[in-house]
Structure formats: C-alpha cells, structure tokens
C-alpha cells in the first residue's frame, strides 16, 4: 500500500545517518586510539634504540672478558636511559639489562597509551605497548686481555700511594752501560738514565732544553730505576708527585695479586697540572713530528676503549699522512695520567721516557708482528709506516703493568700475570 510505505520511510535518512554515524564515530575512535598506540610504540622503539646504544657507552669497561664492572654500572646505565627516554618517549618506563660480560645492553621501553575515545566503546582505559632494543659492543679479539692502565677514582678519594708494596729491587744485569747517569729534575727527583749503546750520547743535564726534549721524546734513551730511584719514587709518592692507581674496587678489578703501579705524571700542585685543573699534555709536540694526544679526557668512563680508539684514529691519520708521530701521550682526568710513545730503538724491553722527572712505568712498543718476527733487531719505528688498507695491522702497543721484576730481567716472560702484560693491536678499520 502506497500510504503505508510512504509513512514508513519518513525520517529514514536521519535514522540511517544516526546509525552510520555511530559506527563511523566508533571506528574513528578505535582508529585514533590504535594509531596513537602504534605511534607510541614506534616512538618507544626509536627511544629504545637510542637508549640502548647510549647505555652501552655508559658502561665502564675493562675489556677483560667477563670481568665485572661493578654495581655502579647498572645504576648509571638505568639513570642514563631513563633520562634519555624521558625526552624520547615521555612517560614510558624502561628496563635496562646489562649482559653478564657487559658487552650487551638490552633496553625495554614500555609506553602506555590512553584510550581516549575507544574507551567509550568499552575498550580498556590504556594500551600498553612495548619495544626493546639490543645494543652490543664488539671487541677486537685482543682487547679482552688488556689491562687497564688508568681508571678514574669513583669514590672521590685521593689516590693511594702504593710504595709500600714495592718489593726489593735488583739492578738490571743488562742492557748496555752499567753506569747510570743521575739526572735531577727541577723538582729534585732523580732519575737514573742509562746510555744506550749506539745511540746518541746522553747528557742528563736538565738545563739543556735539547736534552730534555730528547729524553722526552723517549727515542734514544732508556730510563731505569735503581734502588735509589725507588727510594726517590717513594719520596715522590709521599710528596704527591707520583700517583698510583686508586682503589679500583668499583670499576676495574684487577686480577688477584696484580701490582699495577700505574704512575701519574705529576700530581696535586705538580707543574704538570694545568691552570684548568686538567693535566697538561705530557709531551710538547716536537716540531715537525705529528703527535697523538688528547686532553679532553675528563669523562670518568673514558678508559681504554676510548683511548684505544683515539690511538687507532691517530695512528690511522698518521699512517695516511706518511708522517710519524713518535709520541702518543694521553690522560684520564681524575686518574693517573699515562703516556706512551713509539720506542724506536731496537730492544722491545726498553721503556720509553716521557719526562725528565717521570719514572716510566709503561713499557710501550709499537711494532708490526710479522716484521718483528722476521727481524727482531729492526728499528720498530719503521714498521709503523706499513702500507695501509682495510684490515692491515699498523702496529701494536704493549702495556706492562710495572713490576720491578720487569726491570730486572728485561724479559717479557717475566711480565706475565699477575703483573699484567697485555697487548693492544691496531688495525686499519676503514
């Protein structure tokens, strides 16, 4: 019947629209909230990526595989990722997990999204979306054996002199000249310098700038420590001129029994301490010689990882430029400054001299293994100009934790743990 049909169709569009609108709004609500949640998840993912990579760098590192870094790491890492995530994904919770070997950080970022619209449709009040990232540091194979040569002082306590642990010292039987020269530095410290056969004659007068520079260059001369200088070292320690490693309980646990007498080059009030409170460069750059050094090491986490990177970088640029830096001085702020240089004489057991008043506690050589094997008596300095290329080895630095034993024997075998002999190799990586 026409009448009935007509009457029944009255307002059909309004009803239809009302129903459709309800569905549309409902779908829109879900779409908005879901999009929001997805967006938050992506944000959380991005935040966890940034956080994990950042956290990895906050971990103080020893490069001793499996060696614990200490409880400080977890808190620091968590604090760091929290602060980063606070900006990158506000409101999200984070859980940072450090792997047992401290080479991996897993970061989980949990974002909570409010269901502003879909809630009216009966959805839950919030959506939880999470994302996680894993960042991992890959160590060169050799680095896991490296003994740290300088660490910061996490507790803020003054560095401890370790003179009491110095064992009795026997003068070296070799090398060459058994008659040492005694050089007295400006600060009154005495070092005994032994002239090397076949190298430049040594004049240890510290008033002679050229000689001082010569000694500082660490090229021609060898410094040795006899019983007297051990005594002087003890005096220097007492007077704050020589610092040793701080208590390392928090960051760099050393193998049991290790006597790691990392010596600082200077100390509170030392002329080596710059006006800015940072250590000055140990070594003035000899003119015409490229120098690898870094003074911006006031990051407490900046330990050997960073140092080795910088060394490598410097060596790379050096390698590329064709010039040879013969000095590589470095420091860690708030910790004993240390340095090392290219030992260009022929004996791998020769320490390098850094300063006329500094006892050398690191034995450093940079050499090419293959070339060394071929001719042990070569001038190692030459090997540093090995042709570059990805993967090629450009040198190695050996750090020896000082123990008087090494001075006695001059034998690397005597430096095996517990005295800590470790090798850091450099490769051209890009």
């Amino acid at each position: 019947m026409p009448l009935t049909r007509s009457r029944s169709e009255r307002g059909a569009i309004l009803i239809f629209t009302a129903i459709v609108l309800l569905v549309l709004v409902g779908v829109a609500a879900i779409a908005v909230d879901l999009s929001n949640a997805w967006s938050n998840r992506r944000r959380a993912q991005a935040a966890s990526d940034v956080g994990a990579v950042g956290a990895l760098q906050a971990i103080p590192r020893t490069f001793a595989a499996g060696s614990p870094v200490g409880p400080i790491a977890q808190d620091e890492v968590q604090a760091l990722v929290d602060s980063l995530t606070g900006v990158n994904s506000p409101g999200a919770g984070t859980v940072a997990t450090i792997s047992a070997d401290y080479l991996q950080v897993t970061l989980q970022v949990n974002a909570v999204s409010r269901n502003s619209f879909a809630r009216a449709m009966g959805a839950a009040a919030t959506n939880e979306t999470g994302a996680d990232s894993v960042a991992e540091i890959e160590l060169p194979e050799v680095l896991d054996k490296l003994v740290p040569v300088g660490v910061d002082n996490p507790s803020g306590q003054p560095y401890q002199c370790m003179r009491a642990s110095l064992p009795a010292y026997s003068p070296p039987a070799s090398p060459p000249d058994p008659t040492p020269l005694v050089c007295t530095s400006a600060s009154g410290l005495q070092n005994r310098l032994i002239q090397m056969t076949g190298l430049d004659p040594l004049d240890c007068s510290t008033s002679d700038a050229a000689t001082v520079a010569n000694i500082q260059d660490g090229v021609d001369h060898m410094i040795d420590i006899d019983t007297e200088s051990v005594r002087h070292e003890a005096d220097a320690c007492a007077s704050g001129h020589i610092l040793t490693l701080p208590n390392q309980a928090n960051r760099i646990p050393l193998p049991a029994g290790t006597t790691l007498l990392t010596q600082a080059f200077g100390g509170a009030g030392s002329p080596l301490l710059g006006a800015d409170g940072l250590w000055d460069h140990l070594l003035p750059a000899p003119s015409g010689i490229a120098q690898c050094h870094e003074s911006n090491f006031n990051d407490p986490t900046l330990i050997l990882e960073q140092l080795s990177r910088r060394m490598r970088s410097c060596l790379q640029s050096w390698n590329a430029s064709g010039s040879k830096p013969r000095i590589f001085a470095d420091s860690i702020i708030g910790s004993p400054r240390f340095g090392f240089g290219v030992d260009s004489d022929s004996d791998p057991a020769d320490p390098v001299i850094f300063d006329d008043q500094t006892l050398v506690w690191f034995h450093t050589i940079i050499y090419d293994d293959a070339a060394l094997a071929a001719d042990p008596d070569q001038d190692y300095g030459q090997f540093l100009s090995v042709p570059g290329g990805v993967g090629s080895e450009i040198g190695a630095v050996t750090f020896y934790a000082l123990h008087p034993g090494m001075l006695t024997s001059g034998d690397e075998a005597a430096l095996l743990p517990p005295f800590g002999t470790d090798l850091l190799e450099f490769y051209i990586i890009d």
Partner: protein, 174 residues
C-alpha cells in the same frame, strides 16, 4: 470521536509533495558533519603522518650527530640532515642540534664522547585540505642521544641552547 482522514488521492498527493526534498534537506543538514569528520580524518592523518616523518628525521639527525660529534658543528649537521629531506614535503622545516639540558655539564664540551646532545626537528603544520589555518601549530620531535664518536681534533662544539619550536632558531632547511 475523531475520524481519521481518509487517504484520498488528494491527501496522498499533497503529502508526497510536502515530503519532496526532505532527503536533500536532511542531507544538507548532515553533510557538514560528515564532511567535517572526513576532513578531520584527513587532516589528523596527515598530522600524524607528518609527526611520524619528523620523528624519523629527528632520529636521523640524532644518529648523524652522535656519530660525527665534535667534528661537525650544529649548522653543518643540520645542513646534512636537510640535504636528505624532500623539500616539498618538509617546507619550512627547521633542524637544531645542541647540548641537551640533560647533559651532566661536566667540563666536557658537548659533542665529545659520552655527552648528551639533543636534536630537534620542527615545522608548522600545513593543512592538506586547505580549509584550516594551523599557522600557530608546530609539529616537532625531540631526541636526546649520547654522542658516540671519539674525538681526535674536535674544535667545534654544539651550542648550549636551541631555538626549537619557533619560526626562528635552529637551522632552516633551504
């Protein structure tokens, strides 16, 4: 007793005539809301999409800055970031890389390894349908990051503050 009007031909015709155009009127009433909904969806989607894109750009800038820390200054970093952007899509976008307020503020200059930098990317929200004026609304994304790159001869550091969020400040992509 009221007698219901008999459904004569006349009444039917007149009623049919009266109801002519009702659909159009109803449609006219409903259409604005539907269109508003539709345009709203379009505009919001676009804003979301832009926000997402800016996040990508900001993270890209952060990544770039983190791995070139100290060797490039803020302007250089922003310049490289801008180079990778599609100019038509990101008209008026501004990029800034600076010291994050979260940086511990040690003596370390920002840009050195371990310091915390902040990358901000922002631009005014454009209206894709042309019906809205968002000139006062800014879409932005901020990323804090830890600088990774070791420094060898770093001489350029990032500024302590940024101009994020406004029509000035930062680096305007060409």
């Amino acid at each position: 007793m009221v007698e219901l009007p008999h459904a004569s031909e006349e009444v039917l015709v007149s009623r049919r005539r009266r109801e002519q155009g009702v659909a159009s009127v109803e449609a006219a009433l409903v259409l604005p809301f539907l269109m508003l909904l539709l345009f709203g969806i379009v505009e919001f989607s676009q804003a979301y999409a832009l926000q997402n894109e800016l996040r990508g750009v900001a993270h890209g800038a952060a990544r770039y800055a983190a791995t070139t820390g100290g060797t490039l200054n803020s302007t250089q970093i922003a310049g490289f970031v801008c180079d990778d952007l599609e100019a038509s899509k990101f008209a008026g976008v501004r990029v800034d890389v600076s010291r994050s307020p979260q940086d511990p503020g040690t003596a370390d200059p920002v840009g050195s390894r371990g310091s915390i930098g902040r990358a901000i990317v922002w631009m005014e929200l454009p209206s894709i349908t042309g019906f809205f004026d968002y000139s006062s609304i800014t879409v932005s994304h901020t990323v804090d990051f830890v600088v990774e790159q070791p420094l060898d001869a770093a001489t350029t550091w990032w500024p302590d503050s940024y101009g994020g969020g406004g029509s000035s400040g930062g680096f305007a992509c060409p």
